[in-house]
């Protein structure tokens, strides 16, 4: 019985992520539209879009290979697996030890690698452009992300996200300089990885500014639906990462009583809401950057994270 409950809790988390991801994305779009004095699409529009795309036939180029056809499913699988292993409403779920923070970052790397290959498959200029830029951004963002992982791992003494969240929510970690720097870095990395302004514009269809959109330009129908769903899940993954590392209050750490789980789920949803509202506020207050300004922006995240790690190595007090 205990095993069944444990498995059920784990699969509830995995399902929860996918279920709310389009809604969270819908909130950011709505808030963004309101900030731009537009009415904006309904909150559930992302679900409708996915539903519509799934039912359309997929149009493939004549020379599309199996890499192109299977990439959307693999991207979705890797993103979903990574997201399912980030603690959302409770720590210590049954599979939480099967991948630590470093492995989750690397799983997102698998998703990105697959998608970048798919962008190259048909052999168009846009696909190559998108893949090339995406890998350039990743080659700057991924090391920053790993250094952020180092920082929190050094503070908590473990790389297991579940254990880190437990440490941060129970022990008196307090305000720390290195954690502040790590949060700053994580926000920048999250913006870059999720293709948000100022790195990329998810709503753009102006060719020269596209990165992520250029890479998936040829996709249509159910394949596009999988990619869009993966993008939504990835956004929620980064939100829940920020929530579980820096705002872990409310998360169910001890016994999984019904009350603890209810509090955990409720606080998780509140955190998602807050983050989903703040992201478009930040986005609308800046302009998109030129491509070759990215290194400075992402280098800033890298420097902040590196500084945080060095501070941890110098003294345990920071």
């Amino acid at each position: 019985m205990a095993v069944i409950i444990a498995l059920a809790l784990q699969f509830f988390q995995i399902a929860l992520i996918v279920a709310i991801a389009p809604f969270v994305l819908g909130i950011t779009r709505k808030v963004r539209a309101r900030l731009l004095c537009r009415r904006g699409p309904p909150l559930l529009q992302v679900y409708y879009d996915l539903w519509k795309l799934m039912h359309k036939e997929a149009v493939l180029a004549h020379n599309a290979s199996w890499v192109y056809r299977s990439a959307p499913y693999l991207v979705f699988a890797a993103t979903w697996t990574a997201a399912g292993l980030v603690p959302t409403y409770a720590t210590g779920l049954v599979f939480s030890w099967s991948a630590d923070l470093i492995a989750i970052v690397a799983l997102l790397g698998t998703a990105r690698f697959t998608l970048a290959l798919a962008g190259m498959d048909v052999g168009t200029a846009f696909g190559g452009l998108g893949s090339s830029r995406e890998m350039m951004i990743a080659s700057l963002a991924e090391p920053a992300m790993l250094l952020i992982a180092f920082t929190v791992a050094l503070i908590a003494g473990t790389t297991q996200l579940s254990a880190i969240a437990t440490v941060f929510v129970t022990a008196e970690t307090g305000l720390r300089v290195s954690l502040g720097l790590a949060l700053l870095g994580l926000i920048v990395v999250g913006i870059a990885e999720n293709a948000r302004i100022p790195i990329d514009n998810p709503a753009t269809h102006l060719e020269l500014t596209m990165v992520h959109e250029a890479m998936v330009l040829e996709y249509s129908g159910r394949h596009l639906a999988m990619i869009e769903a993966a993008a939504a899940v990835k956004l929620v993954l980064y939100f829940s990462l920020i929530a579980c590392l820096f705002f872990p209050f409310g998360i169910a750490t001890g016994d999984k009583t019904a009350a603890a789980i209810a509090i955990g789920v409720g606080s998780f949803l509140c955190k998602m809401l807050v983050l989903a509202v703040s992201l478009p506020i930040a986005e609308t207050s800046v302009a998109k950057m030129r491509v070759f300004r990215y290194p400075a922006f992402l280098g800033g995240a890298f420097a902040a994270a590196a500084l945080a790690v060095f501070l941890r190595f110098v003294s345990r007090g920071f």
């Binding site: 470093i102 690397a106 698998t110 990105r112 962008g119 052999g123 080659s139 790389t159």
Partner: protein
């Protein structure tokens, strides 16, 4: 029969195969015979090494009446030798299998077959040798045999130049190793490793030995800035030899370093660890950046070997630093990470070179700018090459990720180190390793995307055909190893435990008994990773997504022309190429690292000539070290050349002056 005798028998067998190759090389059946025999012998050696590690067998020694008079040649098989014998024989077995197919197209078999056996025999002897004299002779034999293979296609000027640079660098490396062993032999009074091990070294001697070992073994392994020969020599050889050179022989260099600083001269200060790991970090990042700039597939892979050697040296440096501070458990973790990466790199780099060889056979092209679309005509090669690319890019759930993950775990334990220099160097190296991993993924998206995906960029690429069964089966074996070592890494770690217990005195927790076959380097509360679960999750969620869509939505598919945002262009030259793919990264890192010169020659409006764009990327090692060095050698040779055309009087004066000079020295000496 003791294990070491079987090992020596294998080495002797390889040498006999080499001799046979010289004798029968001109017959058409020779290739099948030679590679078949090598395959059988490599499998015997592989079985020996594996059973030695699994049995936790005792080291065995044999002394042959060869070599220096009075001392004899010592050979010993211990856990470290067994692990590297495993790497050598695994590489030898798969390469021989591959060559059964690939090697048939060799135009000059007499320039390859005799040296093939000799090369394998040389590498086997190096890992078995247990005295300074035998290890140096075997090492030099291995270097010369591999040199002969590099210049096998001697009509190609690039191969000859590569062979020349390789010969110079190999001699330099051997010289450094000779001096290192000289210092050790002086301290102990004997040539055997056993005597050297028993001698307590002074701190200065230990540092000097470590530095010489780093330079000597590092030049064989390809540590920056001693890597200059590697990207020239590895691509010049036939592809199965490239796989042996890159996947296996560089590991013999790593073996030399490990043998000296962890075993023979084990009293090292933490600072040798600092030097090794810093050098490793720099090597990793520079290696992958150079690799990104290449558009020759084999040279790209060769530069990637430099990167992976860097990752291995990061692990070794960490292990040295931890061991010198008495933290044996963490040292065992770092050493496990390094050796795991040795194994991984041997597997996926051989696989990738086999793939490059298959592409070369099928298209006659190594230049990525003229390839493309091979996934349609070489589907099986494409699958295995993709697995190799994903493994080397350290993507879970494959094997490359596991060794990098273990290295990261060791890095995260380094705040326990007391030295300030290490406290700063280790996180910086961690950042470099993270950067190298991310860039490697970019590099292999480029390699696979440009070669196998996209549209063919030349008629040869469009007309390619799948390669033969033997080549494919060798690649499938290696790809299967990539997947297996990735999802069941605990078994590999357990096989490495005799090595770590011999060299650091500690072992990691027994992994095969962990729940769900996850790997736990220190304790489960600290960190754990389960490749199997990740693999199952990935498969299940991917299939689940596909099943839901296919069942409840639609699976209708229509083929049509490329859309390309409404402006499709038929010409394949409108695609991204390898150079254009790497351009953003070249802009970001290139100016600082390579001193990239971009020259644009754009015709004015109305002019009818073609525009030109030229990029010049130079390896800084050539620009700052080897270029000036070669020029100064040439200058002094020019200057000395004048001494050849003097009169008899001048020569007599010179002799007289030399005599006086010598007498003055002698007088001053007394």
């Amino acid at each position: 029969m003791p294990d070491v005798t079987i090992g020596l028998g294998c080495a002797a067998g390889f040498l006999v195969i080499g001799a046979t190759g010289a004798a029968i090389g001109r017959f058409s059946f020779a290739k099948t015979v030679i590679y078949g025999l090598s395959l059988a012998l490599s499998l015997i050696a592989l079985g020996l090494a594996l059973s030695f590690l699994l049995r936790h067998a005792e080291a065995s020694t044999v002394i042959l009446p060869l070599g220096l008079p009075g001392t004899g040649a010592h050979f010993r098989l211990d856990a470290l030798s067994a692990f590297f014998l495993l790497v050598v024989s695994l590489g030898g077995a798969t390469t021989s299998l591959y060559a059964l197919g690939y090697g048939q197209s060799e135009r000059a078999p007499l320039r390859v077959l005799p040296y093939y056996g000799a090369f394998l025999g040389g590498m086997t002897l190096v890992v078995l040798a247990a005295d300074a004299y035998s290890v140096l002779v075997a090492g030099e034999f291995m270097s010369l045999a591999s040199w002969a293979l590099v210049v096998a296609h001697y009509r190609d000027p690039a191969a000859v130049r590569a062979g020349y640079v390789y010969l110079v660098m190999a001699s330099f490396g051997t010289l450094c190793l000779l001096l290192a062993f000289g210092l050790l032999a002086h301290a102990s009074g004997e040539y055997t490793f056993a005597a050297m091990r028993a001698t307590k070294l002074g701190p200065e001697v230990a540092v000097a030995v470590a530095a010489l070992a780093l330079v000597g073994a590092g030049s064989k392994a390809g540590v920056v800035p001693l890597h200059a020969w590697l990207p020239l020599a590895h691509p010049a050889a036939p592809s199965h030899i490239s796989a042996l050179l890159s996947g296996v022989m560089t590991k013999v260099g790593v073996y030399g370093f490990v043998r000296i600083v962890f075993d023979v001269a084990a009293d090292q200060s933490p600072w040798s660890g600092l030097v090794a790991l810093t050098l490793g970090g720099v090597t990793a990042v520079l290696g992958v950046l150079y690799a990104l700039m290449q558009h020759d597939l084999k040279r790209l892979l060769a530069y990637h070997t430099v990167e992976n050697i860097g990752i291995i040296f990061i692990g070794l440096g960490l292990a040295l630093a931890f061991r010198a501070n008495g933290q044996d458990g963490v040292a065992a973790l770092a050493l496990t990470a390094a050796l795991f990466h040795v194994f991984n790199h041997a597997v996926f780099k051989s696989l990738l070179f086999f793939g490059a060889g298959a592409v070369l056979t099928a298209t006659g092209q190594r230049d990525m700018e003229r390839l493309g679309g091979l996934i349609h005509v070489m589907p099986k090669t494409a699958v295995v090459f993709l697995i190799g690319c994903a493994s080397i890019s350290a993507l879970p759930p494959l094997n490359g990720f596991v060794s990098e993950w273990l290295t990261f775990q060791a890095i995260l334990l380094s705040p326990q180190l007391p030295q300030w220099g290490l406290k700063f160097a280790v996180p910086a190296t961690g950042a470099l390793l993270a950067l190298a991993a991310a860039l490697a993924a970019a590099c292999f998206v480029k390699a696979f995307g440009v070669v196998f995906l996209s549209r063919p960029r030349s008629p040869e690429a469009a007309a390619a055909r799948e390669v033969d069964r033997f080549s494919l089966s060798a690649m499938f074996v290696l790809a299967a190893l990539c997947v297996l070592a990735g999802i069941l890494p605990g078994f590999v770690i357990d096989w490495l435990s005799p090595v770590t217990s011999a060299l650091t005195g500690a072992v990691l927790p027994h992994q095969a008994s962990m729940p769900w076959l996850s790997i736990v380097p220190i304790a489960e509360s600290r960190s754990s990773y389960n490749g199997l679960i990740i693999f199952l999750f990935l498969t299940a969620s991917g299939l689940f997504g596909a099943a839901v869509i296919h069942k409840f939505a639609t699976r209708a598919t229509r083929r049509s022309a490329i859309w390309d945002c409404g402006f499709p262009l038929d010409s394949p030259v409108t695609q991204y190429t390898s150079s254009s793919f790497a351009m953003p990264i070249r802009r970001v890192f290139g100016a600082a690292v390579f001193g990239v010169i971009e020259r644009v020659d754009m015709p004015l409006p109305g002019e009818m000539r073609a525009g030109h764009f030229q990029v010049r990327v130079r390896d800084p090692a050539w620009r700052f070290i080897y270029g000036p060095l070669a020029r100064s050698v040439a200058r002094s040779a020019q200057w000395l050349n004048r001494m050849q055309f003097l009169t008899v009087r001048s020569y007599l004066t010179l002799v007289f002056l030399a005599l006086i000079g010598l007498l003055l020295v002698v007088a001053a000496w007394r």
